[in-house]
């Protein structure tokens, strides 16, 4: 019985998360909000959790499942690159160089800036290094 009950709760959680997404989509389209519906939905769910409108356990199983399989949902979209065979043949190297180069530049600058600004904020005089937040990685 507990399996049936858990499966039922899991589906309810997924439906709830989907409903938040559906409402955000409606709001974005109706009020022409210039951010993507999924990002708005993420903000709404976050606020609901922080303000204790809903408890974590109410969405935890469904959300953890979606988090775990997030990568899967991008695969069918990435398969769409098969439409660009022609462009890849004519401009492939230039495109790869442009995408790789600017991604690396953005990556390096945002990471270095964040690391530097955090250190500066914590130690304006530049003293010892703090180790806060370094212990969470798996």
């Amino acid at each position: 019985m507990s399996f049936v009950k858990n499966a039922f709760l899991f589906i309810i959680q997924l439906v709830f998360i989907w409903a938040i997404y559906a409402c955000s989509k409606y709001a974005v389209e109706t009020f022409h909000i210039p951010i993507p519906s999924s990002v708005l939905g993420m903000v709404i769910l976050y606020v609901m959790l922080v303000c204790k409108i809903i408890q974590v356990k109410f969405i935890e199983k469904g959300a953890a499942f979606l988090n775990k399989h997030l990568g899967f949902f991008f695969v069918p979209i990435a398969v769409g690159l098969m439409n660009y065979g022609g462009l890849i043949k004519t401009n492939g190297w230039q495109l790869l160089l442009m995408i790789a180069g600017s991604t690396i530049i953005g990556l390096a600058i945002s990471a270095a800036a964040t690391q530097y600004l955090t250190k500066k904020e914590r130690n304006p005089t530049g003293g010892e290094k703090t180790n806060h937040g370094q212990s969470h990685s798996a």
């Binding site: 990002v39 903000v43 979209i77 230039q94 530049i105 600058i109 990471a111 270095a112 798996a138």
Partner: protein, 228 residues
Amino acid sequence: MDSLTLLSIFITITVYIGAIKLAKHVPSPFTTPILTATIVIIAILSSLHISYKQYATAKDWMTFLLGPATVALALPMYKNQSIIRERLKPAVLGLAIGTIATMTSAVWLSKALGLSDTIQAASAVKAVTTPVAIEAAALIGGDPALAAAFVITAGIFGAVLGPILLTCMKITDPFSRGLSIGTVSHGIGTSQIMTEGPVQGAVSSLAMGFAAIITSILLPWIYPLIQF
């Protein structure tokens, strides 16, 4: 649902499960599931003469949960809210600087490599999540479909090589690692950096959301300024 759609879904799920198993047995950036699965699925579809148009119905079924899955990123953000709050200021500054840097460098590199104006405009939006990229590209005269293709490629590139590049640059702080991946490689990068740890996943989700918002607001202003 017709048999072609069922077959396409079956192929996609089977290949993806295989790709995850491969990544577990042979851990390497080049076995990142989204990369290997995409290549194998394209190869199978091509050999079966299934076009992307025919695959589209299957795609719609399988991506039905993409929006809700992005919403669900609120969970890691909530669980790591104390660290996010504590470092919100450097985080927002860092990702704003990173977003401008990646936009500008994409346009300048496109110019330097002699790519067309349409490609330049599409390249400017490649760091952000697809729905924003499509709309932002159209605003500055880029091709939305092309922009979506760049978004996917930038996402896969960041997911595959981002973590290694960060390690080479001696960025060891999990917070900064998550932030930069989310800034340049949106959801695809987030899905990958999440496997490194919960802080990375939470901060990457936050960065992805903010980068989308910053891009949609700043791009129409910045794009004319970076022309030469």
